[in-house]
Symmetry: C2
Subunit: 348 residues, 2 copies
DNA sequence: CTGTTAGCGCTTTCAG
DNA sequence: CTGAAAGCGCTAACAG
């Protein structure tokens, strides 16, 4: 029914082994033989059977990319960069790898499920993006899974995620702490003293690191860190909107709002505006990530640019073995402060 | 080295077939035997070999989702909805399907490549999202590929994409033409007569349909369709920015700009603002899609909301056989006009 | 309800 | 440089 490698072999009048060799291109084959085989492949419209090939070779051309939220450009940009480095010539059979992105929705269970699914597929590599959940059980469960994957020959790369202790995973992290600190220092430099902070979900590393940077800046400037001025919520617009309102309620004298990321910042802007406050005259607002839409906010958002695409591309290359792992298996990329219209000196 | 089904069988003191049966859960097995097997699986930390299983069963648990641009929330929202309906219990082995998204970058070649890769993996289903490229060669190539996939038992679903003639593909399309028409009718109703149109890439169906709707509205109102007032470009912010400038150059008397989608509209807004024009007092602006950020534009964007998540979820269910295909294999979802602050009556 | 027996289609030594 | 043969790990009849 469906065309198999044996059919191709018959048509090209060679053995199946030879066909396999030309398809995989990893073994010397006479030019004329190769051509004959290729012609037969073409004429029969043959497509290699991936599962059979993966079974025999004990590894597949699949590369999994895990993201927390596929609808969020933060992950979309990284995933796109990773995938474009992965897909293309260089895989085993037929020379093509299959880079696929899996959406965990931020759920630790789904992350584990996907990891198992990819392990089951004997994936060639797995790239995990975005902050990790810090619950101890999940951390050990993920580490164990990653170790098992490594043992089975799957390359594991973390992109924009802190290193996983006790694993062979290569980590390309972002300096969220440093970025957060820079941002708050900028605000302090403008004269702000009463600043609200809209943080991400409590248990994520990204949240914690950005917040730590913020607090480090406050401490360095001798500003008291009032716990009432920090509110946690998901990384979405709605959280920004509601948290900004809550902060205003708690401290009407606020002169600036620092948000966990750009999306949250946009929500905060909406809330402030609806409360009759001007940005930045009455309240300054800052975000994080510098996603494409941030420059279109009115006023344009002050934020910290993260090299999302660059890190993703590098992760993709490392995952496919086309680039060396960084020394020690860890590399840190720094953010760049982008000062724009949404921050200014406080009133009075 | 790695644990196989035979190891589990040995430990549970049953035959490999029995282990397979409890794992696939598609065959009666005594409760006590099942339990014994499950325990062995657990103790051995056994993970099914996907390729072997797929080879033997002649189908895999992979479901591919093709998107044009993974960094664009338009696709992210659809892909997320599709994937969440796909992943989860219901697959063959171990009860889990692997929904994976593939980023074509809008390139017809990469689309075909991914399709071949998925065919090679014996994917259970494939969902293609977003507008298709209309070049005749590509159209026939894709149709041929989809036919081949269907023949091999892969379910094919199109989501937000026009039907593919001569294939068995189920199509869930959007009424882009109707949406475009409504939007322009709204502008005409406000009194606009000189409107610029920033269209998407020339060869895509989505572009053509939205433009046709716009023109239909013009024609119905007896407004001449000046070709100079339509500019084509990619579906990105930059195109919106530059095209708006170009339109202004061609027709300084413009009172409204209709954009191919929200992202383009945002770019246009930036250009207008920088040209010293107020929105909507001097120029009205409208988008399409109603992506989450559109409500945060200042002023909020008038646009057409498309049921992205709903369509994606349905596509996911159809792809996994949990929902009937619509009659005739085609269903059309309509957009909803969202009138917001970015459109108003023209000057004078 | 459970075991036995053939493969699924490819890769990979091992010989030539 | 090419062929023959032995599986890879699982599923699916077919018996029992």
């Amino acid at each position: 029914m469906t065309v198999t490698l044996a059919d191709v072999a018959a048509r090209a009048r060679v053995s199946p082994a030879t066909v396999s060799r030309v398809l995989n291109g990893n073994y010397p084959v006479a030019a004329t033989t190769r051509e004959r085989v290729l012609r037969a492949v073409d004429e029969l419209d043959y497509v290699l059977n991936g599962p059979a090939s993966a079974l025999a070779a004990a590894t597949s051309d699949l590369v999994g990319i895990l993201v927390n939220d596929i609808a969020d450009p933060f992950f979309g940009i990284m995933a796109g960069a990773i995938q474009s480095e992965i897909t293309g010539p260089g895989g085993r059979a037929g020379g093509e790898r299959l880079g696929v992105v899996c959406n965990t929705g931020g759920s630790p269970e789904r992350e584990l499920t996907y990891l198992t699914l990819l392990q089951r597929q004997r994936a060639a590599a797995v790239v995990l993006t975005g902050g990790a959940v810090e619950s101890p059980e999940h951390l050990t469960a993920v580490s164990a899974k990653l170790r098992r994957l490594s043992e089975a020959g799957t390359r594991v790369v973390l992109c924009g995620r802190p290193p996983a202790p006790d694993t062979d995973a290569i980590a390309l992290t972002f300096d969220n702490r440093g970025g957060g600190q820079q941002l708050t220092e900028h605000l302090i430099g403008l004269g702000h003293r009463r600043m609200g902070y809209i943080a991400g979900p409590e248990e994520r590393t990204t949240t914690r690191h950005r917040l730590e940077g913020h607090r480090a800046a406050l401490a360095a400037a001798g500003i008291e860190d009032d716990p009432a001025l920090t509110v946690h919520g998901p990384y979405d617009r709605r959280s920004g909107y509601e948290s900004a309102l809550e902060l205003l309620r708690r401290e009407p004298g606020l002169t600036a709002v620092v948000a966990a990321n750009d999306t949250v910042a946009l929500g905060a802007c909406a809330a402030l505006r609806e409360s009759g406050l001007r940005i930045p005259e009455d309240v300054s607002v800052a975000g994080f990530d510098d996603l494409p839409f941030s420059i279109d906010a009115v006023p344009a958002l002050t934020t910290v640019r993260l090299p999302l695409a660059e890190a993703g591309a590098r992760a993709g290359r490392i995952a496919t073995g086309r680039e060396e792992a960084p020394p020690g298996g860890i590399a840190t990329a720094h953010g760049e402060l982008m000062v724009r219209g949404s921050t200014g000196a406080p009133r009075g």
